[in-house]
Each structure stands twice: as C-alpha cells, then as structure tokens.
C-alpha cells in the first residue's frame, strides 16, 4: 500500500515512519508532504491508499485538506496524527470524514490500534 505522511515537521514525519515500522506496518510505499497544499496535491497525484496527516500545517490545515479532497470526490482513507485532541476537533475530524485521530505523543501500540483495521 502507498501511505502519504503529511506534517510540516521533518522530525515528526520521521517519527511517524519509525512508528509505522515499530507497529509492524513494514514494506509500504511511503510518500511525504510538508504542508497542507502539498498534502492535497500529492494525494491527488500519487493516489495513496491512506493519508496520515497533521492538523496544524502551513497553507492549509489537515482538516481543510480533507474537506477539499471530499469536495473533489476523493474518498481516500484519511486519519489525523496531531498534538491536539479536544472533543471539538475529534468531532470536526469525524464530520469531515476522518477514520481516526491519533494524538501526539503516540506509541506503536496506539498506531497499531488505529491502523490495524485499515492495514492489518
């Protein structure tokens, strides 16, 4: 499967990549995006099977990316990996069509629980 990792922090993209491996999700084709616009563009161009996206990013927030994808008829499975997990944001994520919202700091077990239904 192809997975797009969107986060404006290169360090966090590395952590997500490492955590995917630690959670047992190895051998997937990983693509990276460093802001919201790039996340949207690469989702359209690269057609990933899953998007793991930060919430707060330059140019477009993660939820804006998701809403724009859905508005354009793109139904890619989409999950958030973000430092914020308030009930309001979880609701906004769900309303926009996200499958899950994982909060930072996360562990390999958290990833496994969230991603097993999709990648397992």
């Amino acid at each position: 499967m192809k997975i797009l990792i969107a986060d404006d922090s290169r360090v966090m993209r590395q952590i997500v990549t490492r955590t995917l491996r630690q959670a047992g999700f190895e051998g997937h084709d990983l693509v990276e995006a460093s802001d919201g616009q790039e996340a949207f563009d690469k989702t359209v161009a690269e057609k990933p099977d899953l998007v793991l996206s930060d919430w707060n990013m330059p140019h477009m927030t993660g939820v804006e990316v998701l809403r724009m994808l859905r508005a354009n008829g793109n139904q890619v499975p989409f999950g958030f990996v973000t430092s914020e997990g308030t009930p309001e944001m979880r609701q906004a994520a769900e309303d926009a069509g996200a499958l899950f919202l994982v909060t930072k700091p996360f562990t390999a077990d958290t990833f496994k629980d969230a991603l097993d239904p999709i990648l397992g």
Binding site: S9, R10, V11, M12, Q14, P58, T82, E84, T86, P105
Partner: protein
C-alpha cells in the same frame, strides 16, 4: 475550567519523554531546577481564542541537540543545525497541544516559533500561569505557560 498547573505540565512532559525522549526509562526529565537554567533555544506556540497566551519550551543548546537526536533516532554528533529548530518546535507543538486540551474552548494553536540564538522573543502583557523547571541529560529544560493580560476590547474608541 482552571488554569494548567505545574503538575499538569509534569504529566504532559512525562508522556512526551516516555514516548519519544526516554524510551528505556533511563533518562527521565527530573523536575528539579538545573543549577544554571539556560534558554539558548526557545520554541513557543501561541494559543488564541477563549484563552490567549503562549507555551514555551526553553533549554540549553546541548539539550536541544539531545532532543533532535532522540526524536530522529540518530547520534548526538550527527544532528544537523536545522534539525534542532525543527525538533524543538515539534516538542513545543506537542506540549502546547496537550496544554491546549486543558484550556477553555474554542482555542486555536499557532505553528511553532523557534529562537536558537538565546533571543527568546518578547511576550508583552503576559503573566506566568505555571512553569516546570527540569534537568535532563544534565542539561536545563524549562516549560512555561504565559497568559496574555492584554484586553482586546480595551482599545481606545
């Protein structure tokens, strides 16, 4: 809802350290002020909305490099300069995001700002809500929460 406390910061820091910075439990953040607190590097995120203020993470240059090495899973000596700002910014983002979950809604969190030159920015019209001073890898690390006291509605007519 009450303001975050030093205990809240300790709980958040413990989660961050055990997840990313102290995986084997050998190098926790010890909540004892370093004998010489330093703020060579300061990363901050701002909160706006129902609550307004800033969450700052300040540390020595060496501590910032240790953070980058731990987050990237590389050796201390292999840390590049741009990794230090990115890593400290992400640390402030994670801690700030968790602090925000203790604050009244609705609030928005900014992208992180990082000062690596000892000039930790200026925060006018703020009052300190709480701070956590600690020592990690024999280096100084401090987390501070500042609340804005500026009255947005107080501008002259």
């Amino acid at each position: 809802m009450t303001n975050p406390t030093e205990d809240d910061l300790k709980v958040i820091a413990d989660q961050v350290w055990s997840s990313y910075l102290d995986l084997d439990g050998a190098s926790p953040l010890v909540p004892l002020p370093h004998e010489k607190p330093v703020d060579d590097v300061t990363a901050s995120v701002s909160v706006t909305g129902a609550w307004r203020g800033h969450v700052l993470v300040s540390c020595s240059e060496a501590a910032a490099k240790h953070v980058a090495a731990a987050l990237l899973g590389i050796e201390f000596d292999d840390v590049a300069e741009e990794d230090v700002a990115d890593a400290l910014g992400e640390l402030a983002n994670i801690i700030g995001g968790n602090v925000k979950s203790l604050l009244p809604e609705p609030c928005a969190l900014s992208l992180p700002h990082v000062h690596v030159d000892g000039a930790n920015g200026r925060y006018p019209s703020v009052t300190e809500v709480c701070h956590l001073e600690g020592t990690w890898m024999a280096e100084s690390v401090t987390v501070t929460v500042l609340e804005s006291t500026a009255d947005l509605a107080g501008a002259p007519a």
